[in-house]
Amino acid sequence: MSIHIPPLLTYALRRILQAIPIMLLIMVGSFLLIKMAPGDTVDALVGDMGGADPAFVARLRAEYGLDESVFVQLWRYLMKLAQLDFGWSYVYEQPVLTVLMARLGNTMLLMVASLTVAFVFGITLGAFAARRAYSLTDNVISTLGLVFYAMPSFFLSLLMILVFSVKLGWLPVGGIRTIGAFKTGWADVIDVARHLVMPTAALSLIYLAFYMRLMRTSVLEVMDLDFVRTARAKGAGDFRLMVHHVMRNALLPVVTLLGLQFSTVLGGSVVIETIFSLPGLGQLAYTSVIKRDLNMLMGIVALSSVIVVIVNVLTDLVYAWLDPRIELK
């Protein structure tokens, strides 16, 4: 009796296995790249402390294993990684995995919230603008889109902090929770949501604008196609026509980009998390570079590549669902 594996699952598994050599390459490349930057974590630590004497510096280097050659260090790192041991962070004095896991949730929350906002509002506004192409509404939406697209997210973040936290006092300046309040249940959920409003807005606006413009073009294109005309001739109502016939087809390029851009959004979270003191992977990556926290950086690279690979596989699956003509093999 043979075990029947659904074709989609086979596809997903194969894609993930294919990703392993790529990830190994990414890991080795990142390791060497970080090593090429001048200075190590001991320098960063000593710089932070405002000085230290030679014995202290030598002791730390030996303790952290930084007195070995780069290739010995790399080999040692990969051997540990093969056993799923991400090593120790000397900046946080905790296992890398512990720190990563504590941060992962916050980053995922921010990214999923931002992409959802960007996607939902982006495609709705885009479709809306396309339906009334070249009207005043379309012009207003398109211009706003351009403004959002051109606005640097760090600038927008600081502007929002100034208006909504400092002047109006509506939203907290940063962080993920009110510190020391120890809220539970719904109060905690609301607290976290309040902290996420501004970072989500700052991170999503640029993508919102992007999806909107893309959706607008795509809808305009699809609306001219034969099958839409046929559907209309068969008497499909405006709403039905838009949702079932136009949107479904117009979404294809947007979904492709959503998957591809996941990694860009992850990169964008570096800036947003730093400004809003959100304890996520982006902020962690930023401080880890500054502090030359090698193990932590490698951990972040590994984790984010896994996330990106998984998201890309998921994107393919969604793609196949949206367009039955596409066959995954």
Partner: protein, 530 residues
């Protein structure tokens, strides 16, 4: 009515009691409340006996106490009550405070001091390993008397000045027999201080809670909690202060522009008060391996080319004063301003460069310098830009190579890949702790904050060594005056500006910045207005 003398004095007494009570009432501290403090940088090790750094003290100073602290009235005992030296300077005796308990309830005794001194201060703590290099033993003649025995004379003055930073005992019963570097209490400190460590949420906050059994008495501390919030972005930190989410940010935690702006807001106190112990110099450091810079006339010309007053006004917004060599005016009797100075004089600078044989070419350029600015914040970056501008005026072209902290330390101290550099140099209460190592020859290559400028002077080395072992404070001060004078003549480094750090504090906090190392101190008397 006849009033007897006794009645009169009674009346007087009553009046003075009433006056005293009203005075106290006006200043009556409120019990309770949470002070929220800004921290820019994460601290992996929360043990001041393993990491000598203001970032560590800012937090751990509330949990762990030193033997001695520095106040505006001089050095006062915290865990020690008195100290004295033997005639030969080889035995220094500390009387320890009785009735002090660690946060876990165990008594604090000489065993803790002896254990920490021999295993942490002497072997593991930066700067302290050098300071305590000649420490042979710490004898406990009774549970509250610790005798530090040295193989070479140790100036009492030096040890006392070093203690506020380098004299924090750890509880022996939690550290003995463990791998000290990996001891979990390095991340959850147990001390004797007014606050107990509760929780460290990486990247977010640290919480400290009131110690109900504090040795200074049940009324202390006034606050219920202290929370440190980690905000790496300076603009966001300034916004949090302005929005009232944070009560204090020290050590130039926000930008100078925001400091100035919020300083004018009557909700905040801003200034250098409370940072007197942590003055630093903004410097220009020369690589004397470069033959051009090896010429003293060139270094003098560069000093004459710097308009220090202009830099003070524009970069440091008026906070600071011109430097007078390696020891800042906060250095007490070891400081002198009787040194050679190099006033701003462009013509003189040009003449000196001409004399040294570096005439300007057709473009008006005499020579080029590769300059590395340290990334220690706003001052150092702006000071580097000013340096380049000022040098252009006297015909020196300066190329600024921007780098981050590890890049700077490597470029300057290990690879010596620079002509000039600028950074700041922190003074740590006594010149022997971390200042003279900058001028003494013989440090191994790569050691940050050592003499990597290739400056070698037998006279300087001899002065430094003599001062480090001199027991008579007056003679010792005289030796340090000579060090300062010689440095100002030889000019291996320009200690251009002496500047304090600035802090910004909500006026709701009371008794803030009332000691010269306030951010590092225990805050037992800090209180918060409703």
């Amino acid at each position: 009515m006849i009033v007897s003398k006794k009645q009169l004095s009674l009346l007087g007494g009553a009046v003075s009691v009433i006056i005293a009570t009203t005075a106290v009432q006006a200043e009556e501290p409120r019990r309770g409340g949470t002070a929220i403090i800004h921290m820019a940088s994460e601290q992996g090790v929360l043990n001041p006996a393993l990491r000598a750094s203001t970032g560590v003290y800012q937090i751990t100073g509330k949990f762990m106490e030193p033997l001695i602290d520095k106040t505006y009235d001089g050095y006062v005992g915290v865990l020690a009550t008195s100290w004295s030296s033997s005639e030969d300077g080889k035995a220094i005796t500390f009387k320890l405070r009785e009735g002090v308990k660690w946060h876990d309830g165990k008594p604090f005794t000489c065993d803790d001091v002896s254990f920490t001194a021999m295993n942490l201060w002497k072997k593991l703590l930066n700067y302290s390993t050098t300071l305590q290099a000649n420490l042979d033993a710490v004898d406990c003649t009774d549970p509250y008397t610790a005798v530090f025995r040295y193989s070479k004379p140790m100036p009492l003055e030096l040890l006392v000045a070093a203690m506020p930073d380098l004299g924090h005992p750890v509880p022996k019963h939690l550290y003995e027999g463990t791998d000290i570097l990996k001891n979990p209490y390095n991340q959850k400190p147990v001390g004797t201080g007014p606050f107990k460590f509760v929780e460290y949420e990486r990247g977010q906050y640290i919480i400290g809670e009131r110690n109900e059994d504090y040795w200074r008495g049940k009324q202390y501390p006034y606050l219920d909690r202290v929370i440190w919030r980690f905000i790496p972005d300076k603009a966001a930190a300034a916004a949090a202060i302005e929005a009232g989410e944070i009560h204090e940010s020290g050590f130039n935690g926000i930008s100078m522009e925001d400091m100035e702006r919020l300083g004018k807001d009557d909700r905040f106190d801003m200034g250098p008060k409370g940072f007197e112990n942590n003055v630093a110099h903004s410097t220009v450091e020369f690589n004397l391996r470069n033959p051009i810079l090896a010429d003293l006339r060139v270094r003098q010309a560069i000093y004459h080319g710097l308009n220090i007053d202009f830099a003070l006004k524009t970069i440091m917004r008026g906070y600071g004063k011109p430097g007078r060599g390696p020891i800042p005016s906060a250095g007490g009797i070891n400081y002198t301003d009787d040194v050679q100075t190099y006033p701003y004089d462009v013509e003189k600078a040009k003449a000196l460069l001409d004399e040294a044989g570096y005439k300007p070419d057709a473009n008006g350029i005499r020579f080029k310098l590769k300059h590395r600015p340290a990334p220690w914040g706003e001052y150092t970056q702006l000071w580097a830009e000013y340096f380049a501008q000022a040098m252009k005026q006297i015909g020196i072209s300066v190329e600024i190579v921007t780098n981050d902290a590890p890049g700077f330390l490597n470029g300057v101290y290990r690879d010596h890949d620079f002509d000039t550099a600028n950074g700041w140099h922190q003074f740590r209460a006594d010149p022997a702790v971390s200042t003279t190592v900058w001028l003494r020859s013989g440090a191994p290559v790569g050691t940050a904050w050592s003499n990597q400028f290739d400056y070698k002077s037998d006279k300087m080395d001899a002065l430094i060594d003599a001062a480090a072992g001199e027991l008579d404070p007056a003679k010792r001060a005289d030796l340090y005056h000579q060090v300062q004078k010689l440095e100002m003549t030889d000019l291996p480094v320009i200690f251009a500006i002496e500047h304090p750090f600035l802090g910004i504090t909500s006026k709701k906090l009371k008794n803030h910045h009332n000691t010269p190392r306030w951010d590092s101190s225990s805050w037992y008397d800090l209180w918060l207005e409703e």
